[in-house]
């Protein structure tokens, strides 16, 4: 579907959406810009998870740890060193990629649920270090009032920065999914034994995927620092990882933009439904149950299926 949307008139639609997003700061109040920035960076985080979960079939159940590592990497450089702030936006994601390599290298010898359990354990280990190391990470208080370059200090500019970086990252991930690396990643998801038998070193390939996913999760973490000026240990907690998994499932984990849609749905629900009831998670639970029963491929997966069958084709072709 995405391929179709990137060709012909689909390009015009995309251009229109992107231009609209650039114009939103002139229309929307500050709160909604903040919300949109959070949706964008969380969507980026969920898309990075989907790279290994949906496309790679790797049970990365504690992905939030790489998000937190990127955020803390950026925040610590901004607060504790005299380095250029722009260096911190590079170092944060690199810290996440390195952590992805280390945790991945340990876990990759296991597969499926065993991989997931070990990954959750190691991720929780990182979380507890961050949570307890008061002198370095600020412990359970986290780090607040992180100094940012002047150009990013206004909410409009923070939004633009988040939008531009997210678009670049999504484009890069889309290229990766469509590259030979992406093709083999999907092959490994479907059948790792067969992959080995056509000459692919599956473990090494998976390790690279985990590093790439960790890197983009780290970018999302760095963006959070820009948008929120703060970091806290809950960013590395396993409940967030679960939430990102739900975003992938809800949006459609065999689709490229499904996780972004899932992130938008969940964050919007959390923000708007929680103003009416404290039991917003109940609404989410019911929604999830309905999705699992009626849309097993997620919302976007369902739409793609309909397009393939020709039900919605005329609308897209226009």
């Amino acid at each position: 579907m995405l391929k179709g949307m990137l060709e012909g008139r689909g390009r015009i639609w995309w251009a229109a959406i992107i231009i609209l997003m650039f114009l939103l700061p002139f229309i929307l109040p500050r709160f909604y810009l903040y919300l949109l920035s959070i949706i964008l960076l969380t969507g980026l985080l969920a898309t990075s998870l989907n790279l290994v979960l949906g496309y790679g079939g790797i049970f990365q159940f504690h992905h939030a740890v790489f998000y937190g590592a990127g955020a803390y990497g950026t925040a610590l450089i901004l607060t504790k060193t005299g380095l250029s702030p722009w260096v911190s936006f590079i170092v944060g994601p690199l810290v996440s990629a390195a952590l992805g390599l280390i945790i991945g290298w340990i876990c990759i010898r296991l597969s499926k649920l065993y991989f997931a359990m070990l990954q959750i354990s190691l991720g929780s280990l990182v979380w507890i270090i961050v949570y307890r190391w008061y002198s370095f990470t600020g412990g359970d208080d986290g780090i607040h009032g992180i100094p940012l370059p002047d150009i990013l200090s206004s909410s409009n500019n923070a939004y633009y920065f988040t939008l531009i970086v997210t678009l670049i990252c999504l484009f890069a991930m889309y290229k990766i999914v469509k590259s030979p690396f992406g093709s083999t990643l999907q092959g490994m998801r479907d059948n790792p034994v067969r992959c080995e038998m056509i000459g692919i070193n599956v473990k090494r390939q998976q390790l690279l995927a985990l590093m790439i996913a960790g890197f983009f999760a780290g970018v999302a973490g760095s963006l959070f620092v820009v948008v929120d000026n703060t970091v806290f240990p809950d960013m590395l907690f396993w409940t967030l990882s679960l939430e990102i998994c739900i975003m992938c499932l809800l949006g459609g984990w065999f689709t490229f933009l499904g996780p972004m849609l899932g992130a938008a749905i969940i964050i919007a629900l959390r923000t708007f439904v929680s103003t009416y009831t404290t039991y917003w998670a109940l609404v989410l639970g019911i929604l999830m149950a309905l999705v699992i029963f009626f849309l097993p491929n997620g919302v976007l997966g369902y739409i793609e299926e309909k397009i393939k069958k020709g039900f919605i084709e005329p609308v897209i072709k226009e």
Binding site: K175, S179, P180, F181, Q186, R189, M197, I198, G199
Partner: protein
């Protein structure tokens, strides 16, 4: 070309392969036959690195490949197809073969070139040669069983093999699909000069296309020789026909 010596593999004390011996010369078609549970698939798994042997050696073109991982064995131009269909069900027919070629060309770490522009000609050529080019855009989950088995062979060909191992290539196929598959195997041997090792239960196929036959019983090689040598061999008659003096085929 391939030399297997005293290969053994046990699972929880059960000797699945017990002192198997096999040699295959360049350009030959060699069949491995034996009753169900004789250890044929385990032998193929040991040769291709999916399992590691407890003892014994496997040499390919004089090089010891015993216990190497599957992907390294594949890179030495040994390809195989599986008894139970083993493909990528969410990918299209074209992508299944293309991934195999990209792997051989060591492009799997290429992150930014679109796959759609790579190895297109070769993928089409292979699909053409196996008769699947008309169905190249179909998701493989939608193929018939026979087509999936042929696709397996096409994926193996993507590795540009010198040595092809086929584990029951016609299992579960309709009669007309079987004929097509056998013609394909003959074509691969005669036109492309591939060396082929296969196992099969259908004796008509075995005696129809094999140059030589190896017979396995309870994990051990009981005889390896030409079709005529195997046909009336006493040990083979004992294994297949319970000691009757009727020749196979």
């Amino acid at each position: 070309m391939l030399e297997v010596k005293s290969l053994s593999k046990s699972f929880d004390g059960f000797k699945a392969v017990n002192n198997a011996n096999l040699d295959v010369r360049k350009g030959e078609i060699v069949a491995v036959i034996g009753p169900n549970g004789a250890g044929k698939t385990t032998l193929f798994n040991l040769i291709t690195g999916i399992l590691k042997p407890d003892s014994g050696t496997v040499h390919f073109r004089g090089e010891n490949i015993t216990g190497l991982p599957s992907y390294e064995i594949c890179r030495k131009r040994i390809s195989r197809s599986f008894q139970v269909v083993n493909i990528f069900p969410r990918l299209t027919v074209f992508e299944n073969v293309q991934v195999s070629i990209l792997s051989r060309e060591r492009r799997t770490w290429n992150l930014f070139t679109p796959s759609s522009k790579l190895a297109v000609e070769e993928t089409n050529r292979i699909l053409e040669s196996v008769g699947l080019v008309q169905k190249k855009d179909r998701t493989t989950a939608l193929l018939s069983h026979g087509d999936r088995k042929v696709l397996e062979i096409a994926m193996a060909l993507g590795g540009d093999p010198e040595f092809l191992i086929l584990d029951e290539p016609t299992a579960g196929m309709a009669p007309e699909e079987t004929v097509r598959c056998i013609d394909l195997v003959k074509h691969l041997s005669e036109k492309l000069g591939l060396t082929i090792l296969f196992c099969e239960h259908d004796m008509e196929i075995v005696f129809g296309i094999a140059d030589r036959i190896m017979v396995m019983v309870r994990g051990a090689t009981i005889v390896q020789g030409s079709c005529d040598e195997v046909r009336c061999n006493e040990a083979v008659q004992e294994a297949y026909l319970g000691g009757s003096d009727v020749c196979l085929m």
